[in-house]
Symmetry: C2
């Protein structure tokens, strides 16, 4: 493996502390910047990405070659690899972020008190966002762009395997910031692949980092969640359920289940468990299972499901807790709505869950009682996405209940403060 | 000191884990409870507080006697002591919380996507709130009541010095819950004064606690902020500034400064530093300083302030960083608005800051650029209070930027989730 780190290990705490101070100072400038300036930086960044395509792809080829030389596997290589089309998508995404409304221009509440005080709650940036990601180099531009739009400084820490690609993309973002007259430290890149840098970020860089967003596999998220001394926007996993309730329309259920499981199996909103109401299992279970198997999905079922189709493999208890992220699904029969809700409460991950039902009261009960960031009625769980929610883009999906929950877009990357206007009022 | 703990030290982790499990189960029941039931529990709790006044005051007398026997000081005894009037205020506060609108009944956003999906963002409880407080026994009822109103389970941990008082108040809350048919674990009291219980709470009770609210002095808050493994709503200190800008009306400034500093000196919204614009120091500084000194306030000033009044003591650098919580103020002259903002950014605590000015543009600049939870124009900083903001009551004031900022009322004790209603939509 190439030595890509420009710093020696002993320097890491000092390098990171300086990065934190720079980001904090930049955050203050960003918080006071007009939207035109932030948008100009985003558009200039997109322009530089397009103009530097050859250099970025060359840097990426270096990363891909090194990964292959280490004998890395297929899907990892796919995530790492950039091409003209993917790079154009990265640039377009920055332009689209620039087109979004300014999340800092929002007056969230405005009211007058009996004593004449006029109180406004207005959106402000969070401050400094640390983003720790793995192989996908596009995260640098997407996450950096969303932070910039929302007036937050970003500190990016990519995986060592994508270091050259990310550095090349970051140079374009920096050029955009410079052109727009914003501090380059508004989006900074950790200049070392030393793993100690991650530890420093998780400790918060002496108060400089306000929130951390991990983007990557479960082990990265688990480490960040367990070690971070600052708030984290993340989901550990998406154990996503579709419950086919007794009144479900079979054709609708088939369409939703197929899409929820098989449209893309590797995303967090992909269904991992299908629950079928015993009251409609007679008519609905067999066709749903057959459809999944015929679409290339392995089905692991409980006794009733195995009885419905000989191709079903037995589900073990751990199957109900497993996020396959693959063409595999666990299928079980439950005794009605309450049992479905209990199952989801017991095995779910509070990410996204769906009921298929023609009974409005049953659907409302499910939407109220299932304690997940996103609950759906008669729609595919693969809609669990900031773009699909109309947020423009998302930096991730959060399953925690603090501050942000569900897709985290530019609005969720803001805080607020109170502006109070008086005319000499004093407190009695 | 009496041995008040009903458990032995070795039991603490097990006792606390059980408390966490109970609270988590109760939180689920609370989240689904109608507002009528939560309000009934609050009103019944208030009724029991009034009916049990004699028993509560007797328990309190026991705590006060023990504190005096230990040689405890005056203001501490005052905070600890209950009387009929204070107890009635505690009961009335529960009734007032019951009268507040239901914070869980809020649809925060509602929109339709082009594909027909109807998306709603609705308020939900946070889950389980841990409250760690010191001598004031009323915090048990106030904080427990606010959590109950907002559908959150509360775990209360009072100071050992108020153990009997808090236990007596808690018994009334429990009776109210029982009467309303809600689980008693909705408001639980740590049944031991062992300090290890606080450590267990700060570690989150195995994921049971969603947020911790410390209520007490700076050392308690500092410990909670540095050790908690879960989010904390708190402010470490309120280094609150009043800036008298060049265009300030002197009479208005005098009224605001006097109220901001002297109405009550021991609260977090009390002013600790007065900054006077050099451009109006000639006319405004001397009368402001004289007024403060004549009101019984010690003034520690910079050179210009000392020159204005011989009674001014010299301010050292640490005075600008000090929250006196007493009749003492630091006073300095600054070179205009930008210098005032810089001073506040450097020495402030992002809690509450005020500008006195007749220049609208200067005021707007101050309100935009000072990065504090509450920024005021021409009004006393002592308005930094949930009640004064119209929140009904507050569980505390937060200076962090995550989730809650400023006064934390019942709305800030909620999270949200997305309810999505479709008619068979699948993702392309």
């Amino acid at each position: 493996m190439n030595k890509v780190s420009p710093t020696i290990a002993e320097d890491v705490p000092a390098v990171m502390a300086a990065l934190g101070r720079g980001a904090k100072a930049a955050a203050r400038a960003l918080a006071l910047s007009p939207r035109e300036q932030r948008d100009a930086a985003l558009r200039a960044g997109a322009r530089h990405l397009r103009a530097s395509a050859a250099a970025i792809l060359a840097a990426n080829a270096q990363d891909v070659a090194a990964a292959k030389a280490r004998g890395t596997q297929g899907s990892f290589i796919d995530r790492l690899t950039l091409d003209d089309k993917r790079l154009e998508a990265v640039a377009r995404s920055l332009d689209e972020i620039a087109d979004l409304p300014d999340p800092l221009a929002r007056v969230l509440a405005r009211y007058e008190r009996p004593n004449g005080l006029l109180i406004e709650r207005v959106a402000t940036p969070l401050g400094v966002v640390g983003i720790i990601f793995e192989s996908r180099p596009n995260v640098a531009a997407d996450a950096g762009g969303l932070c910039l739009k929302s007036g937050n400084a970003a500190i990016l820490r990519g995986g060592s395997e994508s270091f050259h690609s990310v550095r090349a993309i970051h140079a374009c973002l920096t050029a955009g910031l410079r052109e727009a007259g914003l501090p380059e430290a508004a989006i900074s890149l950790v200049p070392t692949t030393d793993r100690a840098a991650v530890g420093e970020m998780l400790a918060g860089l002496d108060g400089a980092i306000d929130v951390i967003v991990p983007r990557g596999g479960k082990s990265l998220v688990a480490r960040v969640q367990s070690e971070a001394r600052v708030p984290v926007f993340a989901h550990l996993e998406g154990i996503v359920h579709v419950f086919v309730e007794r009144t479900a329309d079979l054709e609708k259920a088939k369409k939703i289940v197929l899409n929820a499981k098989m449209r893309r199996t590797g995303i967090c909103g992909a269904a991992e468990t299908l629950l079928v109401d015993r009251a409609c299992a007679q008519t609905h279970l067999k066709p749903l299972v057959a459809m999944l198997i015929e679409a290339g999905c392995e089905v692991r079922g409980d006794g009733a499901t195995q009885a419905a189709d000989a191709r079903v493999k037995p589900a073990r208890d751990e199957d109900w807790r497993t996020e396959y992220l693959d063409a595999i699904i666990s299928v079980g029969v439950v005794d009605g709505l309450a049992a479905a809700i209990d199952h989801i409460e017991r095995y779910g991950s509070h990410h996204t869950d769906c009921i298929v039902s023609e009974d409005r009261a049953a659907a409302e009960k499910f939407l109220n009682e299932v304690d997940s960031a996103i609950v759906l009625h008669n729609a595919s769980t693969q809609f669990a996405d900031g773009g699909e929610f109309g947020f423009g883009a998302e930096i991730g999906i959060a399953t925690g209940r603090m501050h942000a929950r569900g897709p985290v877009g530019v609005e969720q990357l803001t805080s607020f403060k109170y502006r109070v206007r008086g005319d000499g009022q004093t407190r009695a």
